[in-house]
Structures are given as structure tokens and as C-alpha cells.
């Protein structure tokens, strides 16, 4: 057991705002974190890094008063405290933006903000709606967010919901702001603005705990870095003492040749072509081709319409006009079933909602898209079924106790591998990947792209959508940008220049 933790000294001048010492938590049989230590100082950005399932969110939940630790001490401003509930956390000046949005879709923006700011008192008291609205507007102004306070949250886009989350979290007396993967649903541009906000807060003396998987963001922001693995803090120190490579090594526990491996592939014929593809209000006149063995990257901001285009190709939404050609022939795709007949596979952007059935086992999920081929006379051949699961668990290196384990018990990266496996099992010729590494840790990301690379080698035509520009540019053979539903420029020459691509993504060229 590694007990010695390398902690290099912070300036002795500052006193810690929050320190966590020897905290452990287990859920039933699962140890989420054990003997974790972390110290947060006012006016600094502290990045907490770790693989999926390393226990980062658990630590966040402990600080937020949602989860009670089994052991260890929490100290805030020098006093040992017990954070019984979220209200207690807020009273201590701890604000949290959770990994998964915690909004009330049936309530308005103003009400959502109201609940976040609620004092611990629970007496029945009448609401002053004008004050509620005014408070909401004031809270939004703090971040220069402009949402209609009377709008129902279910009508907001994912990005707006994420912004609302941050608005809700911040209040005038926030001393510690915890951001648990706040950028997973945001694209580059929004991330930049978020960073601006973070820097401003930092300059006001707020401590920030930043949990994330994107190393570029971490190095841009963080003053200090803590890496945890398997529920335990591995190393903690000033950001300047780390390099991306050393962080990855700590994270993964070994050196990684490359985070985004790129295989050399001989490109084949054009296999998929999209012609004059239009869905009013989402995208218009989209034209592109993908060759066998090629990875086509689609770049754009959130809301650029890339997801909608892939949904259109896969038959999930009706298309107003345009054609999809496969192998040169125009095909009609009225639903996912049709798309699958043409050997298209689609890994959707929202893994937990659209990709995997969380409360079913791995084997169930892996066979979901191939049930008919797995069965004869309507009965699933259990031998083929078992072989399929075993095969894909092995090929994709899914870390699990067995095929009967529930997906919900897997880490994000491993969940993503199962979703990928589900689609690879259909033997696709066209693979559409919509943000396949959203919320996935570095090690798993690298494994996912190794698999994608192998698929390209095997001659699949691949469309890749990602909000992480570095990743997109590293693994794509060709990149097309989109802006507000319109097709932008096409970049064909590797290596791509991220500045020009970004400019095109934001509609500047």
C-alpha cells in the first residue's frame, strides 16, 4: 500500500480553506475512496485528476454534504466540521456544479435558481415571485448569462442547462467552488468563457476545485494538481511541477506512448456520401463523402448541428430533403432499423441516456443491436450470446468482473467501450461516433482511439464528432467545420492548424 504521498509545499503564508484528511467511503461492497487527502487554498485553482471511477465525484459529494464519509476529517477554515447536508455545505461557502446536471426540468429557470439558493430553513412561507425573478436575474448577471427566468428548464439546450448549473452554484459568499467535469457538455468556445469566469473568481479569492479529464484545460487553469487512482491520492503538487506526460503516467500508472494514437491506413473508395442534406432549423445543404478506412472529423461548437446530421443519417429524425448514398447508391433510411440494414452504426453522444442501458448487464447491452442475428426461430442462442460478450469484453479490454455485471457499475470509459462493442458487433461498414470520449479518462480515451484506429484499418468509413479539438485533429484524416447548421471549410492536409479550424468553427471564415 502506497502510504507516502508526495506533497510539495504551498506558500506557508496562506492558510488552507478546506482540507480533507484520510477520508474513506464505501458503498456496499465497493470502495469508492480510501484515505484521500486534499488541501484547498483560497484564490487557487486546484485540479483533481483521476481515471473514471477513481472516486473524484464521491469526494465532491462528500464536500457537498450529499455523501457522509465513513472515516477521516474535514476541516474548513481551521475548524473540523461535519457536513450533514447540502445546506450545511452552502453555509460553509461550498458551492458545487455536479457532473450530471441537477436541474428541475418542469420548473422555470428562476425557480431552479431559487432552490439552489435556499436557506436551510424549511418553514412554509409564501414566495415573493418578483423577488425570485429579480434574484435569478441578479444571479445570472454575475456570470453575464441571459436566460429568460420564466422559461421552463426542459426547453433549454444542454449547454444552457450547464450554464444554469454554474449560475446556481455561485453565490456572493462562495468560498469554494467545485466544478465536477463542467466542460464535458461544452465545446471549446464555451470552455474558454468558463475559464475566464474561473479566473475572475480566483482573483476574487475564491478557491476552485476543478475536476476534469481534459489535460489541456487543466494545464491552462490549474495552480495545483492532485492525481488520485483507485480511490487514493497518488500525488499532489504545484502545476508547474507536472507535465502532461507525467500526469498521464501518474493517472494511468504507466507511460502511454500517445494519448491519441493514429494508425496509417490505406484509404479505399468513397463509401458514404451525403448530398444536399437539409433539415430546416437544424442544418442546410450539407455535402460530404467518407472513404473506406477514412476518419472524417466534424468540428463545430455545441449546437452547430453535427449531432442532428448524424441523427438524420441514422434515421432518427426525419430529413426535409437530400440524399444519403452508400456505395454510390441512393438509399432511403426511415429509422435506425433501416440504417442498420445498410451497415451503419451510430455511437450517440449521450452515453447514459442513449447509448447504454444502465440497469442491465454488459452482455445484455452488447447483444442489443444484434439480437436477430444471434437467434434462430426467435430464440437467442445462448452459446453465441455468451461468446459474443466474452469476445468483446476481451477485444475492447472492458474492465469488469464478468459479463453479468451491470453497466451502471462500470466506469465511464468502460461503459463507452461497451457501447462501442455493441455497435462493432453489428459488423458495420460505416461508423458514426458522436463525442465518443465525453467524460472518459485519458487512459480509456487512448484505448478507445486504438480501437477506432483498428476499425479504420479494417476498412470502415468513420465519421467522428468531438468537442475536444485536439483529439479531433489528432485522429481525423480530414476535417469539416460546421457553424450554425451550415457547412464551413474542409481541411484535408494533416497536421491541421487548430487556430484556422477554430476560426472556421466560429464562423469567421
Amino acid at each position: 500500500m502506497t502510504e507516502s504521498i508526495a506533497v510539495t509545499g504551498h506558500e506557508a503564508t496562506a492558510t488552507p480553506l478546506v482540507s480533507v484528511a484520510g477520508v474513506s467511503k464505501r458503498f456496499g461492497g465497493v470502495t469508492a475512496i480510501k484515505r484521500t487527502d486534499i488541501t484547498l487554498y483560497p484564490g487557487e485553482v486546484h485540479a483533481l485528476l483521476g481515471e473514471n471511477g477513481a472516486g473524484k465525484s464521491t469526494l465532491v459529494n462528500i464536500l457537498a454534504g450529499i455523501v457522509q464519509p465513513d472515516a477521516g476529517t474535514l476541516t474548513v477554515n481551521g475548524d473540523t466540521v461535519t457536513i450533514h447536508n447540502p445546506h450545511a455545505a452552502r453555509a460553509l461557502g461550498i458551492s458545487v456544479v455536479h457532473q450530471h446536471p441537477v436541474v428541475f426540468p418542469d420548473l422555470t429557470v428562476a425557480e431552479n435558481i431559487m432552490f439552489a439558493a435556499a436557506p436551510p430553513r424549511t418553514a412554509v412561507r409564501s414566495l415573493d415571485w418578483r423577488a425570485v425573478q429579480a434574484n435569478a436575474i441578479r444571479a445570472m448577471e454575475r456570470l453575464q448569462v441571459k436566460l429568460d427566468p420564466r422559461e421552463l428548464v426542459q426547453n433549454l439546450s444542454a449547454a444552457d442547462q450547464q450554464l444554469l448549473e454554474i449560475v446556481k452554484a455561485l453565490s456572493d459568499d462562495t468560498a469554494l467552488l467545485i466544478l465536477d467535469e463542467p466542460t464535458a457538455a461544452l465545446s471549446k468556445h464555451e470552455v474558454d468563457h468558463l475559464m475566464e469566469v474561473i479566473r475572475r473568481l480566483k482573483s476574487q479569492g475564491v478557491a476552485i476545485l476543478f475536476v476534469g479529464h481534459r489535460l489541456d484545460e487543466v494545464f491552462e487553469l490549474a495552480d495545483r494538481v492532485t492525481v488520485s487512482r483507485d480511490g487514493t491520492t497518488i500525488i499532489s503538487g504545484p502545476a508547474a511541477e507536472f507535465t502532461p506526460e507525467s500526469v498521464v503516467t501518474h493517472l494511468v500508472g504507466r507511460t502511454l506512448e500517445s494519448v491519441f494514437p493514429k494508425e496509417e491506413v490505406e484509404l479505399g473508395d468513397v463509401h458514404l456520401e451525403v448530398r444536399d442534406f437539409t433539415r430546416k432549423g437544424a442544418y442546410e445543404n450539407v455535402n460530404f463523402t467518407v472513404r473506406k478506412g477514412e476518419i472524417l472529423g466534424l468540428a463545430g461548437l455545441v449546437g452547430a448541428g453535427r449531432t442532428e446530421i448524424s441523427r438524420g443519417i441514422f434515421g432518427l429524425d426525419p430529413v426535409d430533403s437530400g440524399d444519403v448514398l452508400i456505395g454510390g447508391k441512393s438509399v432511403r433510411i426511415a429509422g435506425p432499423g433501416d440504417a442498420m440494414k445498410y451497415k451503419i452504426a451510430y455511437v450517440p453522444e449521450d452515453r447514459t441516456r442513449e447509448g447504454a442501458i444502465l440497469d442491465q448487464p454488459i452482455s445484455f447491452n452488447l447483444s442489443l443491436a444484434v439480437l436477430d442475428t444471434l437467434s434462430s426461430f426467435g430464440l437467442v442462442k445462448s452459446k453465441s450470446d455468451r461468446e459474443l460478450s466474452a469476445d468483446y469484453i476481451k477485444r475492447l479490454g472492458v474492465r469488469t468482473s464478468g459479463p453479468e455485471q451491470l453497466i451502471s457499475a462500470l466506469s465511464g470509459g468502460n461503459q463507452q467501450k461497451v457501447v462501442l462493442g455493441k455497435w462493432l458487433a453489428t459488423n458495420p461498414e460505416i461508423l458514426i461516433l458522436d463525442d465518443p470520449t465525453k467524460g472518459v479518462d485519458v487512459g480509456a480515451k487512448s484505448e478507445v482511439y486504438k480501437i477506432v484506429g483498428r476499425m479504420a484499418q479494417a476498412g470502415l468509413a468513420i465519421i467522428l464528432i468531438s468537442n475536444e479539438l485536439e483529439e479531433l485533429l489528432s485522429v481525423s484524416d480530414r476535417v469539416i467545420t460546421f457553424y450554425r447548421g451550415a457547412q464551413g471549410r474542409e481541411f484535408t492536409e494533416r497536421p491541421f492548424d487548430s487556430e484556422t479550424v477554430l476560426a472556421s468553427m466560429t464562423g469567421q471564415h
Binding site: G29, R229, E354, D359, Q360, L368, A369, L371, L379
Partner: protein
């Protein structure tokens, strides 16, 4: 602790070992089985009339309508939907079947008309649910009234008792020389078929998938709407069959046949461990729950126990069905874990 063990995935053989119990026979099914055994033993000891062939025959024959409707309701609820109109379809088809017979339509044709009517009634439920994205609980509260109401419009206060002898015999009699009702054989065949389809069939897998997550299922190319409509049709058709057999069993088609039976059907499925929210449940559990409730009812009938006591016992059972597993889990979680 070594770093190597974490980074490299555990080597996984191609052969998969199945540990412990199959998914369709878990802790809840075992508890139900134990309860069935305990209640059966107690009933057999307390009254000499319980464990007899004739009692089996009348109990199995009497429960047939309920038992048949439980089968599709299990599938439907696993798919995350519910059909409160089954008892009304049950009554309505009995009436239409009776009118057909009365109108001189040959028996086989009348049966087919009845089944078709049930399928249509089910289709309407399914279509309203799927096409307008309405909760099936709400839709079938409406059709519950509508279908029963049509039965009243058609037959008013009359009853039709001149049903063909071969039909009433099939519904009432036992296989010659045994205490096994014909209808029981029909039920067993349908139950076995449904169990195999649900737990071994591709359709069953899809049913679970649809109930667990309709969105993921759609994204996986599973025809969610078609499956739901199929299950509603199945529910209607089986309710129709049950309604006609019941009319045969009591030699009487009336507009109020089976009123209120939907609650019993749903109670049995829920006691069987099927989740109200879909995606969870097993056929074995539901069958055990059916047996349990039937055995209890038969025992209490023989003991001339008042119905209010019977109802109270069934209510306690329902609550126990959800409370016991939760409490058991709490107790087992609080025990220190072995490592």
C-alpha cells in the same frame, strides 16, 4: 498494492462461468417459493380438503381468467407500460361472443371474432399510448370505462346463457379421468411459451430493453413502438380469450363479467417482482405469485374465512413484497463485509 493490476485489464477467458442463480430466479423468486411451500403445507395440514384432486380442479378452473391475463400483463409491465382495461376487454368480448353465438354464428367463427375484437381493443390502447406519447396508465383508465360501457350498450341488463355445449364443457370440465381442467392445460401451454419467449427469445430481450430504456432501444434499432403495440394487442387478445372462457365457465355472458379484475391482475404481477417502471421482473416470480395468491384464496375459501380477511392478507402480502427485500438488504448491508 501494485500498479500493474490496475492498468492491465484482468485476463478474461472466452469461457464464461455462470455464478449462482440465473437472472430469472433471484432472491425474490426464492422468497416467493418458500412462501408458496409454507402456505401450501399449512393449508394441507389445517384442512383435509385442500390437497385433493377435486380442490385442485376447482381452484385451477376458477382462477383461469385471472391467470391468463397475468401472462401478457407481465410482458407489458416489463416493457414499462400498463393496461388497466383488461377486465373491460374481458367483459366486452364475453358479451360480443355471446351475441355472436346468439346470432347463429358458428362457434369457431365467434371465437375468432372475439379474439380479433380483443386485439383491436389492445391495438387502440397501444396506438393511443404510442402515437400521442400518453402514459398508458391514463389511456387505459379511459378505455377501461369505454370498453365496459360498450359492453353495457350491447347487452344492457341481459345475459346470454345459451352457449354451445362443447364450449362450456371445455371451459368447465376436467380432462377425462383426471382432475386437470382443459383450460389449465391451455394456460400452462401459454405460460411456458410466454416464459420461453420472455427469457430466451429475442422478443423477450427486446421487451426488457424497451422497458429499461426506450431511448436506448430506439437508438439500437429496436422497433420500440411496434413492440409496445404488439404487447398491447397481446394483452387485449388474451383478455378476450379469458373473457370468453369465463363466459363459458359460468355459462353466462354479461356486461359486468370480470368487473374490477384488473387490480387483481396487476397485484399479482407486482407481487411477482415486476417493476412498475419496466425492465425488471421474471416470469417465474409472477407465476409463483399467482400460485401463492391462488393457494391462499383456496385455503381461505375452504376455511370459510371471510373475504375481508382475505383481502387484508393479500394487501399485507403486497406490501411485504416490496418491504421485505428492502429491509433484508438494509440488514445485509449493515453487516460487516467479508473481504
Amino acid at each position: 498494492m501494485s500498479t500493474q493490476t490496475i492498468t492491465s485489464p484482468p485476463t478474461q477467458g472466452t469461457k464464461v462461468r455462470r455464478r449462482g442463480l440465473p437472472a430469472w430466479f433471484g432472491a425474490w423468486e426464492i422468497s416467493l417459493l418458500v412462501l408458496v411451500v409454507v402456505v401450501t403445507v399449512m393449508a394441507s395440514i389445517s384442512t383435509p380438503y385442500f390437497a385433493t384432486g377435486p380442490n385442485f380442479a376447482i381452484t385451477a378452473g376458477g382462477v383461469i381468467g385471472l391467470a391468463l391475463m397475468v401472462i401478457p400483463m407481465t410482458l407489458l409491465m416489463i416493457a414499462g407500460e400498463i393496461d388497466l382495461s383488461v377486465a373491460s376487454v374481458f367483459g366486452l368480448t364475453g358479451v360480443v361472443f355471446g351475441l355472436c353465438i346468439e346470432g347463429g354464428i358458428p362457434l369457431p367463427v365467434s371465437v375468432v371474432i372475439g379474439l380479433a375484437l380483443g386485439a383491436v381493443a389492445g391495438f387502440i390502447n397501444g396506438w393511443l399510448t404510442v402515437a400521442y406519447g400518453l402514459p398508458s396508465l391514463v389511456v387505459t383508465v379511459g378505455t377501461l370505462g369505454l370498453y365496459r360501457g360498450i359492453a353495457y350498450i350491447l347487452l344492457e341488463s341481459r345475459s346470454i346463457s345459451a352457449l354451445p355445449v362443447e364450449f362450456t364443457t371445455f371451459s368447465q370440465a376436467n380432462i377425462y379421468g383426471t382432475y386437470i381442467p382443459y383450460t389449465f392445460v391451455l394456460f400452462v401451454l401459454m405460460a411456458v411459451f410466454a416464459a420461453v419467449v420472455l427469457h430466451r427469445g429475442a422478443f423477450g430481450r427486446k421487451t426488457f430493453a424497451v422497458g429499461s430504456s426506450a431511448v436506448v432501444s430506439r437508438f439500437s434499432g429496436i422497433p420500440v413502438r411496434r413492440i409496445k403495440i404488439t404487447l398491447f394487442c397481446l394483452s387485449g387478445t388474451v383478455a378476450a380469450l379469458a373473457g370468453m372462457l369465463y363466459a363459458g365457465y359460468v355459462s353466462s355472458a354479461r356486461a359486468n363479467n370480470g368487473t374490477g379484475l384488473e387490480l387483481s391482475v396487476i397485484a399479482i404481477v407486482l407481487i411477482g417482482g415486476v417493476s412498475m417502471f419496466g425492465g425488471k421482473g421474471s416470469f417465474a416470480g409472477v407465476m409463483l405469485s399467482l400460485v401463492l395468491v391462488t393457494v391462499l384464496t383456496s385455503w381461505m375459501n375452504l376455511g370459510f374465512l371471510p373475504t375481508n380477511v382475505q383481502n387484508t392478507v393479500i394487501g399485507v402480502l403486497m406490501i411485504a413484497a416490496v418491504v421485505v427485500p428492502v429491509v433484508a438488504k438494509k440488514i445485509s448491508d449493515s453487516r460487516p463485509l467479508r473481504t
